[in-house]
């Protein structure tokens, strides 16, 4: 039993980092542009499909394919920002509807190009790590470490570089930041593009673990938003921890309670957090 719990715990943590990378995109976009980009899940699907196409159809090496997929997703994010999100800054409801429209367009485009058949990538890195009492597939461990590295690097960049501090300053006081010489338009575009690139990376790594469907991102964006709110919107490390908390809650919850309701456990947790600690687990009280 202990072994089972530990195994589920580990699975929850690994899935949780995937939620965390989406949550990070949600938090950054919300902090800087004032909208929630619900299309991040669709950008995740773009990343996954591009990686699958590049490796399985064109025979590229997986790491190279990941880089190209992230670049492709980021370009998509740039186009979306310049044609859509530029006009919905700080308007939550308009941003929500526009990003939902964008989901439909992206999903339809993916369906037109690659049809509805689920896609399975070949095993990139077969084999397992045997850690004594439980085993971890190697690829899962790699995905976990890469995502963890990217989130930590983002945290470091936000706290240690000029651009990162500019972003923090902008989130706190947009006008003051502008007066101090922060190029706010560029910053907002940059954050939208960076968050879509993060989603693309998440999707590219996802492709090596699970089979791909066009709508694969829709549950991840919900979980990402949940994780971001759980931790308190605006906190970078919080999005990682929120993702992991959510992943572990689901994994452990479905061990003791009916699996069919695994999506409910996170939701109940979320509602309770929103009601009693609206600032999130790590945020200020209210």
């Amino acid at each position: 039993m202990l072994q089972l719990i530990l195994g589920q715990l580990l699975n929850g943590i690994i899935i949780g980092t995937l939620y965390g990378i989406i949550a990070l995109g949600v938090t950054l976009t919300f902090g800087i542009t004032g909208i929630v980009n619900f299309a991040l899940g669709a950008f995740m699907a773009i990343g996954a499909y591009v990686v699958w196409y590049l490796t399985d159809s064109l025979g590229l090496a997986y790491p190279l394919a990941i880089v190209l997929a992230v670049v492709a997703t980021a370009l998509g994010g740039l186009v979306a920002d310049q044609t859509l999100f530029r006009f919905t800054r700080n308007n939550l409801i308009n941003g929500l509807i526009v990003s939902i429209g964008l989901i439909s367009v992206i999903q339809a485009a993916l369906l037109l190009i690659w049809t509805t058949t689920p896609k399975n990538m070949h095993y990139v890195l077969p084999g397992i790590f045997n850690l004594g009492w439980f085993i971890v597939p190697r690829m899962r461990a790699v995905v976990f470490l890469v995502l963890l590295g990217v989130i930590l690097a983002t945290y470091a960049a936000l706290t240690r570089t000029w651009a990162g501090r500019a972003a923090y300053a902008f989130a706190q006081a947009p006008e003051a930041a502008k007066l101090m010489g922060v190029r706010t338009g560029l910053l907002q575009t940059g954050v939208v593009v960076y968050s879509t690139a993060l989603a693309g990376l998440g999707g590219a790594l996802y492709a090596s673990l699970y089979s791909l469907e066009v709508s694969m991102g829709s549950s991840y964006i919900l979980k990402g938003v949940e994780a971001a709110i759980l931790a308190g919107i605006g906190s970078v490390m919080g999005s990682l921890i929120g993702g992991i908390v959510l992943g572990v809650t689901e994994a452990i919850g479905s061990l003791f309670l009916p699996v069919a309701y695994r999506d409910v456990y996170g939701l109940v947790f979320l509602v309770l957090i929103l009601l009693f600690r609206p600032g999130g687990l790590f945020g200020a009280g209210r």
Binding site: V36, L84, F87, T88, L92, I93, N94, L96, I97, V98, I100, G101, L102, I103, S104, V105, Q107, A108, A109, L111, L112, S218, V225, I229, P258, A260, Y261, D263, V264, L267, V268, L270, V271, L274, L275, P278
Partner: protein
């Protein structure tokens, strides 16, 4: 009064148009119109983006069917039970959300969470709801005519008039609510709820009333939709259904009663008018959403009202925008 006259031609449509497909589109438009108009009471008039609307719609569909199956009541009693059940749930969900003063985005997320919970329960409660397979509804509602005759509502004609009258009643009720003191409280809450609170308006109460009346409208729509279609499934409560309702209100325009109905008509008719593959249809739908927000923030009604200002014709009377408060 003029707006009332605009309804009359709709009653004549079945005598002029004998096209089965066109009438079917109109029936769906009317039923979904009830859904969109009642949603707009919460969204457009009170300014709260509720994601619970598809849940109210779906719960009512299931409760109507289940009370008919288990309690042996008629369709209309079943519908009343459904409206009551949805009302009780709305009070619970609304009290939780409004007591804690959730801001717009958090309100949307929490109502979404509640409707996902209900959907998952319906999806997994196989013994009662038959899970993802859904239930085929074989019975049809009956009506008592003034002559004492009992007719079964089946076939396009009967459903056309039933749904049209239901929509008319919904619009009447919502108009009465919006034009009363309640409507002015809704507007005050929409424009600035802190100011409304300062002015002595019971923000909690009026948000709850709006949520309750809106969801009750969705319940009526759910019962009618289920029995017109003859099939219920958990997809009634899906996020996509919630978003489709939002799209109807936004496309038509959220400042009037006619807006959501026009939106419902366009989104219902569109797939039939332009013959496209499934993928292209999803894409067109996405583009409509994006372009509406970017180019038509007031919806189609806003566009028409601007063009027609100063020339109150029939169309302008029908789509008369709400008095600005």
């Amino acid at each position: 009064m003029k707006a009332g006259l605009a309804w009359l031609p709709l009653f004549a449509v079945p005598f002029l148009v004998h096209n089965e497909v066109a009438l079917t589109i109109l029936i769906f438009t009317y039923i979904l119109g009830i859904l969109a108009v009642s949603f707009n009471l919460i969204f457009g008039y009170t300014g709260q983006l509720s994601m619970f609307h598809a849940a109210a719609f779906g719960i009512a569909a299931y409760v109507t069917q289940l009370s008919m199956a288990y309690l042996g009541v008629s369709f209309w009693i079943g519908m009343v039970i459904a409206v009551l059940a949805v009302s009780v749930l709305s009070v619970i969900v609304g009290t939780i959300c409004f007591r804690f003063k959730l801001r717009e985005f958090y309100f949307a997320i929490v109502t979404l969470a509640f409707s996902e919970m209900v959907r998952l329960v319906i999806l997994n409660w196989n013994s009662v709801t038959n899970g993802s397979l859904g239930i085929n509804l074989t019975s049809k509602p009956t009506l008592w005519l003034p002559t004492g005759k009992v007719i079964t509502v089946e076939g396009t004609m009967a459903w056309y008039y039933l749904s049209l009258v239901a929509l008319l009643l919904t619009v009447l009720v919502c108009t009465r609510v919006v034009r009363s003191w309640m409507g002015r409280c809704f507007a005050a809450i929409r424009l600035n709820d802190q100011l409304a609170d300062t002015l002595g308006i019971n923000v909690f109460l009026y948000k709850l009333v709006s949520f309750l009346v809106g969801n009750a409208g969705a319940a009526v729509a759910g019962a009618l939709y289920a029995f017109y279609l003859g099939y219920i499934e958990p997809g009634y409560l899906s996020i996509d259904q919630s978003l489709a309702i939002v799209a109807m209100a936004l496309l038509g325009g959220r400042d009037s009663m006619a807006g959501p109905i026009i939106g419902a008509f366009i989104l219902t008719a569109l797939p039939h008018v332009i013959n496209l593959g499934a993928e292209m249809r999803i894409m067109v739908y996405g583009f409509i959403l994006m372009l509406t927000i970017l180019l038509l923030p007031k919806g189609i009604v806003g566009l028409v009202a601007r063009r027609r200002r100063g020339a109150p014709g029939l169309l302008a009377a029908l789509v008369k925008p709400r008095d600005v408060l």
